[in-house]
Symmetry: C2
Subunit: 343 residues, 2 copies
DNA sequence: TTGTAAGCGTTATCAC
DNA sequence: GTGATAACGCTTACAA
């Protein structure tokens, strides 16, 4: 039916009004008589009008589109954040063009360039490759989530607090010594605070502890072998002691659990080992023994990010926009989730 | 620096050419002298030009934007499909506006309407709520993935073949009786073929079997309780027999595994039960005993979908576009992944 | 309350 | 090879 597109011109002709009046019907309906509003409304139906946002954008500059760059969707954390952000459409009305970073700084910059050609109003960045300084240089509203954020607005989980919660839980679980296994993390990345939180809590409580800073690989098999070795060493070092292990994420916590179950046949390994993970990803709940973990409040993380972005985008639409003097950094407290790998 | 946007007009003025020539520089560079090409290239750099795709779109209608509607990103299968499709940007150049269906037909229709106002060139649909008839009525290129697809182009996994592979593997694993646990599935949905594949294979081999068609809930706890009960009944019914269970997906296969391990203390439960899942989701590899499964070739699924869509979109750009007489349905063969829950 | 006309930044159609 | 000029569909002063 709708062969050609119906435009304001068609409606104007049909109703006898001018294009301007049709435009006003959409943007300032109250400036028309009710009668005329109805006339136009009828015409819209009869002709089967569908608005053309692109034409609108060309005229007023508001795309209502936000760009997102995620490192990957393989990790549940990222897909859940993406999920929550995109679902924000219902609340904020912004649409999202999504790019998946492939780790290369240059291609990610290209992605941003491409997004800019579409006049996106703002950008949400979860990938780590592009520095916040670089991001700031684009002079568009930006919010980063859980990454280096010196020069741009950001939302982060309170990783320090999360680590404190995890460590405290292990202490309360009657452990004799505490271990934190993590890869070497750039101190500028928020998750580096997990290490600080662990160390500080142990020290404050004058609790025996050890930090194992080692990259344990990217595949399940690599993780398994590396953790098997690490656990072997730890066990030797702390014979007869009850060991609490704070893992940097749930995926690794689960591998650790499997290692202990398989290699050490601890049917009652719970007497010997306690485990806390991080992220509250599905695996932590689905593991053979549900794993205690620190859950990021992803829904809030996403919502705060959108609020921060919307604020910047609105400011920009004002007659005399004022850039923020300082980037705003929001922090979301994580929630400790007690399951079966701790008391 | 780049206070105001640099337009063709600016470049034209700077170089002394007309806007037309600048446009030609981008679209038909070979019709300019090399000398002039360089002049313009220089100007572009000096002035810091960035193209405006929206203006371009208004003039020629090609947005290079495709809409995607996914039911959720909680299930790894969907996030992985999304991942692969979006990554197709590097190959096909299309950008993606993503919506997450919330199960309501009306809101998903609204999403499509919104996408249409942006003149998207095509649509990829993974969510199940909107009928293919309805989708076809929008008269834009559409491809669906693993869902009802009567009136539109689609790409699906060969679910029947996957079920045949899974069932055969269980037979080869020396089982005495085969069980398939699945919820009640609409026969129009491709995954319904898994049931057919199971039943046909059992019958052809004259193998004892049973189909358990039951909804086992949406949470881990529900899954656990339901499967515990189901397994209890099955065990009673087939005492002393080796039971092969084909689960409809890996998440449930993992719960089943945990049930068997916990409730039945089958250290050597492998002698009694064999399990095959479906999807090759991360959990199948990370489970305490890695689970054999049928893996969908998601990368191919996504790529075929894009090819099918690009084909339709290109046809539409021709002077006299010809609509397809019949929708095209592509089928991708899944791959059996043998791990430790089968021989 | 409504209309006129000039943009918004490109592309396409003619001319020259 | 290059340049006017008219679209593309809508918004927005400025008038009336």
């Amino acid at each position: 039916m709708t062969k050609k597109k119906v435009t304001f011109a068609d409606i104007a002709q049909y109703t006898g009004f001018s294009k301007t009046t049709i435009s006003r019907y959409f943007n300032h309906p109250d400036t028309l008589t009710l009668e005329n509003q109805e006339k136009i409304a009828d015409a819209l139906n009869v002709l089967g009008y569908r608005e053309n946002k692109l034409a609108k954008v060309l005229a007023n500059g508001k795309t209502e589109i936000v760009g997102i760059i995620v490192p990957n969707l393989y990790m549940h954390y990222y897909s859940e954040v993406l999920n929550q952000i995109i679902s924000g459409y219902d609340k904020y009305g912004y649409k999202f063009i999504v790019f998946i970073g492939n780790g290369s700084k240059d291609t990610e910059k290209q992605y941003i360039e491409e997004l800019l050609t579409y006049n996106i109003e703002g950008l949400i960045v979860l990938s780590h490759t592009i520095s916040s300084k670089q991001l700031a240089s684009y002079h568009i509203p930006v919010v980063t989530i859980e990454r280096e954020d010196k020069y741009v607005c950001s939302v982060n989980t309170d990783n320090y607090m999360g680590a404190v919660q995890a460590t405290s839980l292990l202490i309360k679980s009657d452990c004799d010594v505490l271990i934190h296994i993590n890869s070497k993390v750039d101190p500028a990345v928020p998750s580096a605070k997990r290490i600080d939180g662990f160390l500080d809590t142990c020290r404050e409580n004058q609790f025996p502890h050890e930090l194992v800073e080692k990259d344990i690989g990217n595949t399940y098999a690599e993780n398994y072998e590396n953790l098997k070795r690490i656990v072997g060493e730890i066990e030797k070092r702390y014979q007869g002691k009850k060991i609490g292990i704070f893992m940097s994420n749930d995926t690794h916590a689960n591998v650790l659990l499997n290692v202990l179950l398989h290699e050490y046949h601890y049917e009652g390994f719970q007497d010997k080992f306690k485990i806390v993970g991080f992220d509250n990803s599905p695996i932590s709940a689905q593991a053979i023994i549900p794993i205690s973990t620190v859950g990021q409040q992803i829904e809030r993380l996403a919502d705060e990010a959108m609020q921060l972005l919307v604020m910047q985008m609105n400011e920009r639409k004002k007659r005399s926009p004022k850039a923020l003097k300082k980037p705003i950094h929001k922090v979301i407290t994580p929630i400790l989730i007690r399951r079966n790998t701790t008391n």
